[in-house]
Every structure is written in structure tokens, then in C-alpha cells.
């Protein structure tokens, strides 16, 4: 690299002057000689450069505005190699020299990594991570969710007393105190809140024919609480969002809408999984209490034709895992239950006390 033509901008005015550039290998310096014959040197270790194909722009950290511009194909290559040899090319720029196909390969690899961790690594990790959260956390979320709504609910005090009597006769395998409430409402529904409160609507009680159906409903809702489904859902949602935002922090509007929707779809399937688990664990509760497990099937059959609209209380969308609405009772769920019952061993004992209380609840 000797006597290379360069445009020199001195950083004081925007005018450029024609200069000659030579490299001294032994001292690792560039010597620059301008038109007027003045010369100076730039040390290699102070140099920064931009390359636009054959055009090289060289700047000096010591004189941040001065600029040398060289438009010369062979110089561009030589200079780049020199800088590379002296570790003056950063990793980003080295990667930038990879072919487009290789970069596309990296992109596909990253996407697969993201997909893999999003669907297979994050959810189980997130579910496991809630073991570190005390149960009081569930109570706190439950309270935050239900407190603004609860004053709009019309609680039936008498039936609430009966339902708590009913529940006291059952072994629900619960690790925290449960608090059942009956709500006067013509919506056929019930839902569980992570703080241990379970709301059952009068309309659903009216539909039921026997206490095994009520036990099935209670078993289902209690299982949501026992298995901390709301907290798992929250944890996996947050983890998923964190992953997405880490991966796509620089993404624009349209992409983020697409990702949001994908995320919601995924959490919907996650909650389907929870519904299935609540069905199965609810069934176990029936069997453990010697109640006819077919009560679950009967319950689902009678709910199957219920309206599937999402319903709200005074503008609040119903929270917590519910028995209908967002997760319609599919034939698949009913078949799954039937299948498990046919494979299980169980004995049924008529329970007069439960029957008695159930009758009072139906009144």
C-alpha cells in the first residue's frame, strides 16, 4: 500500500483535499501527505473504518472528525485484510462477510431454537418454577382478581351454607382452605379463583339431577386450585412474553401483532391442557369419595348444549378457570372421561347425607 490516492477531510471545514497515503509495516502507521506537501501519520491502533464495497472511509479515534476516503478496489481488500490481521475487525463485521445463504441459515436456526424453547422448554420450566412461589402468591392473585367483582355478585347465603356442608363431607385432597359460594344467577356456570374461592351459580344447580353431578363439578373446580392452574398459566405467559421480547426486541408493529396472536393461541391450548387435567383429577376425587364417576359424564352432557358465549359481570370478564364459555365441552373431553372410567376400578356407596344436602340446594 503505497502512494494511494485519498480524499482527506480535516474535520475543521467540509472541504476535502487530495492526499497520498502510504503504509509503514514496521511501525504500523499510515503516512498521509496532502497537496501542499504537509504530512502526518495515523497509527493503525487508532483507526476505525467503514467499507462500502470498494470505498473505504478511515477515521481516527484521536481526531474523531477527520476522515480519509479511498475509492480503490485493491486497496479496499488490502486494508480490510490488514485490519483483520490486527484484530481491528469486530465479530459483527466478520459475520457480516458471511454469504447471504449462511446468514439465512442462522436465521432459520434461531427461529427453530425460539420455537423449540417456546413450545417445549419454557412451559415445563415455567410450571416447575411455581414450586418456588408460596401458596400465598396464589391467594394474592386471587384476591386481586376477585375483589373488584365480588361486590357485583348476588350471593345466596342459605345455599352457600348448604354447599359448604356438602363439601365438608368430601375428601377433596386440598392443601389450602376452600371457600364455596352460591351465586344467584341464570347463567349456567361455575368458576374457581386461585385464592381458594369457588363460585357456583344457582342455574347450574337447577340443571343437575343428582349429587354425583355436583360432586363432579366441585371435583373439577377444586382440581384447578389444587394444581395451581392460574398461577402456572400466569408464569408460563410471562415466561413466553419474556422470551418473545428478548428475541424480537427490535420488531415492528405488524410482526408484534402476529406474535401476540400466536402467543394467545398457544396459551389457549395450554389452558385446554389444564381443563383436561381438572377433568381427570376431578374424576379421581369422585372415585376416592366412592361417588359414581359417571356423574362427571352426566354433568358434561347436561352442560354440552349450554350457550357458549363469553359472559361478563358488570363489565368484568369472568376470571379463573370456568366450567363453560371459553372452553366448550367437546365430545372429545366427554369421551376421554368415559374412557378413563371404563379402565378404572371404583365402588359406589349411596351417601344419604350428601343426597339430603343436595335436595336443599335444589330448592
Amino acid at each position: 500500500m503505497k502512494n494511494i490516492k485519498a480524499d482527506y477531510f480535516d474535520g475543521i471545514t467540509s472541504n476535502s483535499s487530495l492526499s497520498k497515503l502510504s503504509y509503514n509495516k514496521s511501525s504500523n502507521e499510515f503516512f498521509i501527505k496532502n497537496q501542499e506537501g504537509k504530512s502526518f501519520s495515523w497509527k493503525l491502533e487508532d483507526l476505525q473504518f467503514n467499507r462500502f464495497e470498494n470505498l473505504i472511509e478511515i477515521r481516527n479515534e484521536k481526531y474523531s472528525n477527520a476522515l480519509l476516503k479511498i475509492n480503490n478496489a485493491s486497496f479496499a481488500d488490502d486494508f480490510y485484510n490488514l485490519m483483520k490481521k490486527n484484530n481491528r475487525v469486530d465479530l459483527h463485521s466478520l459475520l457480516f462477510n458471511l454469504s447471504f445463504i449462511k446468514i439465512l441459515g442462522i436465521a432459520i436456526f434461531l427461529f427453530s431454537l425460539l420455537g423449540l424453547s417456546y413450545f417445549y422448554i419454557i412451559p415445563p420450566l415455567a410450571e416447575k418454577s411455581i414450586d418456588f412461589l408460596p401458596e400465598s402468591f396464589d391467594n394474592q392473585i386471587g384476591n386481586t382478581l376477585i375483589n373488584p367483582i365480588v361486590k357485583h355478585l348476588d350471593i345466596n347465603k342459605e345455599k352457600t351454607k348448604y354447599i359448604n356442608q356438602f363439601v365438608s363431607k368430601l375428601d377433596l385432597g386440598n392443601s389450602k382452605p376452600l371457600n364455596f359460594k352460591v351465586i344467584n344467577s341464570n347463567h349456567v356456570n361455575a368458576f374457581a379463583v386461585p385464592n381458594g374461592e369457588i363460585f357456583i351459580f344457582t342455574a347450574i344447580l337447577e340443571k343437575m339431577k343428582d349429587y354425583d353431578e355436583l360432586s363432579a363439578l366441585i371435583g373439577h373446580e377444586v382440581s384447578h386450585i389444587n394444581f395451581r392452574h392460574s398461577t402456572k398459566m400466569l408464569s408460563s405467559n410471562i415466561a413466553g412474553y419474556m422470551l418473545i421480547s428478548l428475541m424480537f426486541s427490535d420488531i415492528n408493529g405488524i410482526m408484534s401483532v402476529m406474535l401476540d396472536n400466536a402467543h394467545q393461541l398457544n396459551s389457549l391450548s395450554f389452558s385446554r391442557k389444564h381443563e383436561k387435567q381438572a377433568d381427570e383429577e376431578g374424576l379421581n376425587i369422585l372415585i376416592k369419595n366412592n361417588i359414581d364417576p359417571n356423574g362427571m359424564v352426566n354433568l358434561f352432557e347436561l352442560l354440552k348444549n349450554e350457550e357458549k358465549e363469553k359472559f361478563t359481570i358488570k363489565g368484568y370478564e369472568l376470571i379463573g378457570p370456568e366450567i363453560t364459555s371459553s372452553h366448550p365441552l367437546t365430545q372429545e373431553r366427554i369421551n376421554n372421561i368415559k374412557d378413563i372410567i371404563s379402565k378404572s376400578e371404583y365402588k359406589i356407596e349411596k351417601n344419604k347425607k350428601l343426597k339430603e344436602i343436595f335436595k336443599k340446594l335444589k330448592k
Binding site: 475543521i12 472528525n65 477527520a66 459475520l95 434461531l110
Partner: protein, 321 residues
């Protein structure tokens, strides 16, 4: 190739050729490498990635065959990023503590801080970005006063609130005017002739026409907005001036917007790099500069400035100017 134009007459008409030379392919490479390094470093690389992106975009912006340059570094922006993060954490703690005492007060404080933060971030971003931008070895600079700008902003915001948002059109243009008029390129001053009233009319008529044309006018509305932005920007140096004006038509915007949508949808979002570049090219291709400032006769006037607070603050809260 250099054109040394010392001999030209001071007031002779200059020709300006503004171009954006970026390519979708290269930009895609930058995005993916940024992504890779950010993921591998669990996000720490992010400020360096920002610096790489900005350097590419600036470097590919060319006026009369000379490239612009962004000299900001990842290290600077990392420092700014850490500051913003610390500030954010402190704020959250403060809000939490206040909310234990009176929740209402916590909300008020949160809004207050958020509103105050916007002008603070705008100022910082302009100051930092301009100081790191150069062209032909001459730095840009931002001369706005932080205190003055924040006080003005609060006044404009207050007027916007009491007029139920109507004044927000004036607010928007006042911010543009203030920031633009404080930009320097050496001894060249930027000018901005925006006015809230004119802007209000552009937006109002655009809205009405879009409704009555069942949405079709939206592309022409975009043209009007772009035209309003660009046509009000200028530069002056002594008695020399440069005026900018838009050459984009509604049809051009139709082509740009529909094309971008088409690319995004059919590439499942991967074509974003090409959309960015197309848009950038579109902008520079449709700005025409006319005047008599000779950009090879500019003197350095702006001092060096080192603080990347605003730059990251803007990014952190995703404020777009």
C-alpha cells in the same frame, strides 16, 4: 473522485442528490447478526446492535456522493441503557412505596414522571444523535436547551389536556419546530416553518376525505402528511438557503404501502428488512433539495458531547419522533 468547489459563486444554485443506498439483503444480514449476538449474550449486546444498525443506515445515506456517518458506539449506549434501567427500577420502587401509602398519589406521580420523561428523552435523543452524526467530517449538533424545552413541553401538554386534545396538533408541530430549528450542521442552521393550525387542517381534511372516500384517500392523506413534514424543512447559512420539498404522489404511497404489506404477509414477517429499506429509499428518493448552500464550504462549529442517556431512554420506551 472529489469535487473541490471553492471557486463557485456564493449564491449560485447548487445541485443536491440525496440517496439511500442500503440493500434489503445487507440489512437482513445486520438484523440477523444483531439478533444472534443479542440472544447469545442474553440481551447485553443490544446497545451494540443499535449502534451497528444506526451506523449502517447513516452510512448508506448519501448526499452528493458523500456518505453520512454515525459515530456512536455500543459502549456509550450501553452506559445510557444502564442509566435508564436504574432510573426505571428506582421509579418502580418509588411508585411501589407511595402506593402503599396512597394508591391515588402513586398513579399521579407515575403519570407526572411519564409526561416529564417524554421531553427529557426527546431532548437527550436529539442531543446525542446529532452529536454523533457527521457529513464530510463536519459534526451535526443540537442547541436546544433542556430546561426551556421541558417547560415549553409542559405548557403545550397542559393546553392539549384542557382543550381535550385539540391543541395536541400544535404540540406536535411546536416540538418539531423547536427541535429542528436547534439542529446545526457546522455553521448551517436548520429551519422549520411548521404551524399547528396548518397541521390541524391537513389532519382534519385528510380524516374527512378518507371517511368520505371509504378509506381510499388514505394514501393521498399520507402524501399530504409527508409533504407537510418535508416542505417545512429547510436550512440556512447566512443569506444562503436550502429548501426541501416532497415529490411523492398518492400513487407512490399506494405502491409503497401495499407493497410493504404484501411483502410482510407473504414472507411471514421475514421480509421486514426489505420493507425497512424500501421505505427508507422511498423517503430519500422523494425529497428534493433546492438552494445555494455549498456543502463543501462548511466549518466545524459544534463541540463534542458525550452522553447517551436520551438515546436509550427513547428506545427503551419506544418513542418515535
Amino acid at each position: 473522485m472529489t469535487i473541490i468547489s471553492n471557486n463557485l459563486e456564493n449564491n449560485s444554485e447548487q445541485s443536491y442528490n440525496l440517496q439511500f443506498l442500503g440493500s434489503g439483503k445487507e440489512w437482513f444480514k445486520i438484523i440477523i447478526i444483531n439478533w444472534l449476538l443479542t440472544v447469545l449474550t442474553l440481551g447485553i449486546y443490544y446497545p451494540w446492535a443499535r449502534a451497528k444498525s444506526l451506523r449502517y443506515i447513516y452510512g448508506k445515506t448519501v448526499l452528493n456522493n458523500e456518505h453520512f456517518h454515525f459515530s456512536g458506539t455500543g459502549k456509550e449506549m450501553f452506559r445510557g441503557f444502564v442509566k435508564v434501567l436504574l432510573g426505571y427500577v428506582l421509579l418502580l420502587i418509588l411508585i411501589f412505596v407511595i402506593s402503599l401509602i396512597t394508591p391515588i398519589l402513586a398513579i399521579i406521580v407515575l403519570y407526572l414522571v411519564a409526561f416529564l420523561f417524554i421531553p427529557f428523552a426527546i431532548h437527550g435523543s436529539f442531543k446525542y444523535k446529532m452529536s454523533r452524526t457527521s457529513y464530510r467530517g463536519i459534526r451535526f449538533g443540537y442547541r436546544g436547551e433542556r430546561k426551556e424545552f421541558i417547560l415549553n413541553f409542559i405548557k403545550w401538554l397542559f393546553l392539549s389536556i384542557i382543550t381535550l386534545g385539540i391543541y395536541s396538533f400544535w404540540l406536535e408541530m411546536n416540538v418539531r419546530k423547536y427541535t429542528h430549528e436547534n439542529i446545526r450542521y457546522g455553521d448551517v442552521e436548520f429551519t422549520n416553518t411548521s404551524d399547528g393550525g396548518d397541521w390541524f387542517i391537513v389532519m382534519l381534511f385528510g380524516y374527512i376525505k378518507t371517511i368520505f372516500s371509504l378509506g381510499i384517500y388514505v394514501f393521498w392523506w399520507q402524501r399530504d402528511i409527508f409533504e407537510y413534514y418535508i416542505n417545512n424543512i429547510g436550512m440556512k447559512k447566512g443569506d444562503q438557503i436550502v429548501k426541501c420539498h416532497s415529490t411523492a404522489t398518492g400513487g407512490d404511497f399506494f405502491e409503497l404501502i401495499m407493497g410493504n404489506l404484501f411483502i410482510i404477509i407473504f414472507s411471514f414477517g421475514l421480509g421486514i428488512a426489505w420493507v425497512d429499506i424500501r421505505t427508507q429509499k422511498f423517503i430519500f428518493d422523494h425529497i428534493k433539495m433546492e438552494g445555494n448552500i455549498n456543502f463543501s464550504e462548511i466549518s466545524q462549529t459544534e463541540e463534542e458531547y458525550k452522553d447517551a442517556f436520551g438515546e436509550d431512554a427513547m428506545d427503551f420506551f419506544e418513542i418515535e419522533i
